[in-house]
């Protein structure tokens, strides 16, 4: 056992920290939509260094480095609050690398790698949240095109993205996960309407309506009805960078600064709270490293990944709620950091798979408890 990063990996961390200096005021991790122009510039700057394609094969313009480098990169970016890892260079690119045609790779991977092209994940629907296999948006084939109709819901950042990574039903409703396909759809295509759903953190999610949208067959990724395994594999490829502990470390550091600032650092109750949260943050970090280890070895680790999501997101909330509870009514005023963290962290245990779904995965995968609900 060795829980240390190598010398080369630590050197890379130092390089990332220097790179991030000009971006430390960006604060694009929260409310990305309000700062998208600069976040995109950050991604382009990372793209110039090849950091959006760190682990892609060299033949596809990647740097061919291991997952530890990606982990370090997004851990530091998360700590700097600069941005979240973009879905384009993550789930979209990894799916294209595994399943895309040569023409698709040639068309999409270069602008993704450079940070210029961005995607919104269009999976969830009003009637298909946790139960994604019940998705209803239809894509019906007509010659060289699919005609897409239906509604997606709760898409993050769709207002700013260039393309949609669309999950749509090509089989029967009863075929559930076996009747779904993946498409790339131009957000500006005729019949696509993106409308905002204002959220409790003053940001927005979106509804995306498809009204007779024509998608060329050449923009389907992977086989027809083959979406389910592609989505699963792409998620697995991303599991070590989805929840970088740096975000949570930073939450705690901000809390400590806040506690000092309001003169509560000597209060024994506050100190006990901080100690408790510091232990929780260490749990977040060790789980993050455990997931990285499993990833490096190519082992499936569904239970560890699910547990990691639960721990990470619950600790985000625990920290935010502890600060606000200490802060009194003044902590509720817009502009104060505690209330922003408090409101934003509400979403973390829901988006990207709810805590309940994650716990079901742990029960099933780690404990062998049957699928009966």
């Amino acid at each position: 056992m060795n829980v240390r990063f190598s010398k080369q990996e630590e050197d890379f961390r130092a390089e990332v920290r220097v790179f991030l200096e000009p971006w430390r005021d960006l604060d694009g991790f929260f409310g990305q939509g309000l700062k998208w122009k600069r976040v995109r510039e950050l991604f382009c700057a990372m793209g110039e260094r090849g950091w959006l394609s760190l682990s892609w094969p060299e033949a596809l313009g990647g740097l061919g480095r291991g997952p530890a480098y990606e982990y370090i990169l997004w851990d530091e970016v998360g700590y700097a609050r600069a941005a979240r890892n973009p879905l384009s260079a993550g789930i979209v690119a990894r799916s294209l690398i595994r399943y895309g045609s040569d023409a698709q790779k040639a068309r999409w991977l270069p602008p993704i790698r450079s940070g210029e092209l961005h995607f919104s994940l269009c999976y969830s629907e009003p009637e298909a949240g946790s139960d994604l296999a019940s998705a209803r948006v239809r894509a019906d084939r007509e010659g060289d095109e699919y005609i897409v109709n239906g509604q997606k819901c709760w898409q993050s950042y769709a207002q700013d993205m260039d393309y949609l990574w669309l999950l749509a039903r090509t089989g029967t409703q009863e075929s559930r996960g076996r009747g779904l396909s993946l498409f790339i759809c131009d957000k500006n295509a005729a019949g696509v309407t993106v409308s905002p759903l204002p959220t409790l953190d003053d940001d927005q999610l979106n509804e995306v309506h498809f009204d007779g949208v024509r998608v060329p067959v050449s923009d389907r990724v992977g086989p027809e009805n083959g979406a389910w395994s592609i989505m699963g594999e792409a998620l697995a490829d991303e599991r070590h960078i989805q929840f970088p502990p740096g975000r949570v470390r930073r939450d705690l550091d901000e809390m400590v600064e806040w506690v000092k600032g309001v003169g509560l650092a000597g209060d024994p109750v506050v100190r006990r709270t901080l100690a408790d949260l510091a232990v929780q943050v260490r749990e977040v970090e060790i789980y993050g490293l455990l997931v990285l280890d499993r990833m490096q070895k190519g082992r499936s680790a569904a239970a560890e990944v699910a547990a990691n999501k639960v721990i990470h997101t619950v600790v985000c909330q625990n920290i935010a709620r502890a600060i606000v509870d200490l802060g009194g009514p003044e902590a509720l005023v817009i502009g104060s950091r505690p209330q922003l963290l408090w409101r934003q962290s509400m979403w973390e245990t829901i988006g990207g798979g709810t805590t309940e779904i994650m716990r079901s995965i742990v029960a099933k995968q780690a404990l062998g408890l049957g699928a009966r609900r």
């Binding site: 969830s124 009637e127 298909a128 949240g129 946790s130 139960d131 019940s134 819901c153 709760w154 759903l197 204002p198 959220t199 409790l200 953190d201 003053d202 999610l205 109750v269 909330q317 709620r321 606000v324 509870d325 802060g327 009194g328 009514p329 003044e330 902590a331 509720l332 005023v333 817009i334 502009g335 209330q339 408090w342 409101r343 509400m346 979403w347 245990t349 829901i350 988006g351 709810t354 805590t355 309940e356 609900r373």
Partner: protein, 312 residues
């Protein structure tokens, strides 16, 4: 022993609910939110019908006022009904200019309803004070926790007229109980809203509310809400004994944290959007949790009331 409301109490409750049906509700609360407006017309309607003064009626009292405050909170009313119906009658025989906001001496900062308040009741060490306010005395403060807020200056809390010996203790307990009663109403509404949604919302071919793991969590929340309601009503019925009020407040505001967290988690993505009504009540729970020193202070008040100062 009889936990049922008597005929008069039931009549009050039905009447105020009928009024609220007409003048309040989630849609009205959401309409007022963007500008942080106070619902002056609801306040006037409650006052005209006598509900704001029910606590001054010699034949009635704290319990009836508590029922009114619970009901207004359930309806998401944007009015300072806790201060008007439960707090002010404990401090002065004559009604105060309304709206009424509540603050602590020497502590400036964000205060619920201060921007529209005409009266500020200030909790001092020895005495409570009444400060007459003019519109504009307290600048509005932007916040997203369900209540319009205003900024009270620390200096502003030192002005006004003293309300006499014992007034500080009376203000403290009445304020605590009013917060707790309001939390009860918000929790009831948030729970009812969520249970209704989870009965409708289907995933995996069945209503989410039919999953046993979900049912157990909702049941646990329902137990907490019921416990809060009866502790609050008991304290009101007993004429607000210091320890009983602190106990009700500690229990209800602790429950409020759990109800907030569980209702949002179980409602999923839609609960995080403003198109879903849950936030009308849920966000208020957090604001109520922080007032008057928060849960920790309510707990300390229990110890002080029961066992006195540390070491004595």
């Amino acid at each position: 022993m009889d936990f049922d409301l008597n005929d008069d109490q039931r009549a009050i409750l039905e009447a105020v609910e009928a009024l609220l049906e007409q003048h309040a509700g989630a849609a009205r609360a959401i309409e007022l939110q963007p500008k942080g407006e106070y619902d002056a017309s609801l306040d006037a309607a409650l006052a005209d019908a006598g509900f704001s003064d029910v606590g001054r009626d010699p034949d009635m009292g704290g319990l009836e006022a508590t029922l009114v405050v619970e009901a207004v909170a359930r309806a998401g009313g944007v009015v300072a009904i806790g201060a008007e119906a439960m707090v002010a009658p404990m401090l002065r025989d004559e009604p105060l200019p309304t709206p009424i906001a509540l603050a602590t001496a020497g502590h400036g900062g964000a205060v619920r309803y201060a921007a529209s308040a005409r009266s500020l009741l200030v909790l001092g060490d020895r005495e409570a004070r009444w400060v007459a306010l003019e519109p504009g005395d307290c600048a509005p403060v932007r916040s997203n926790f369900g209540y319009p807020m205003g900024r009270v200056s620390a200096e502003g809390t030192t002005r006004g007229d003293g309300l006499g010996v014992g007034s500080a203790a009376r203000l403290h307990t009445a304020w605590q109980l009013a917060i707790a009663a309001e939390a009860v109403g918000c929790m009831e509404a948030a729970l009812a809203q969520t249970v209704g949604y989870l009965k409708e919302r289907r995933q995996f071919g069945r209503a989410i509310g039919s999953f046993q793991a979900v049912q157990h969590r909702l049941a646990e929340c329902a137990i907490h809400v019921e416990g809060s309601r009866w502790l609050v009503r008991e304290a009101a019925y007993q004429r607000a004994p210091t320890e009983g009020v602190a106990t009700a407040a500690a229990f209800a505001l602790s429950a409020a944290g759990r109800i907030f967290s569980e209702m949002h988690q179980l409602s999923g993505a839609i609960g995080f959007t403003r198109e879903h009504d849950l936030h009308v009540w849920s966000m208020r729970l957090q604001a109520l949790r922080l007032e008057l020193g928060g849960v920790a202070a309510h707990r300390r008040a229990i110890v002080a009331a029961r066992w006195g100062g540390v070491g004595s």
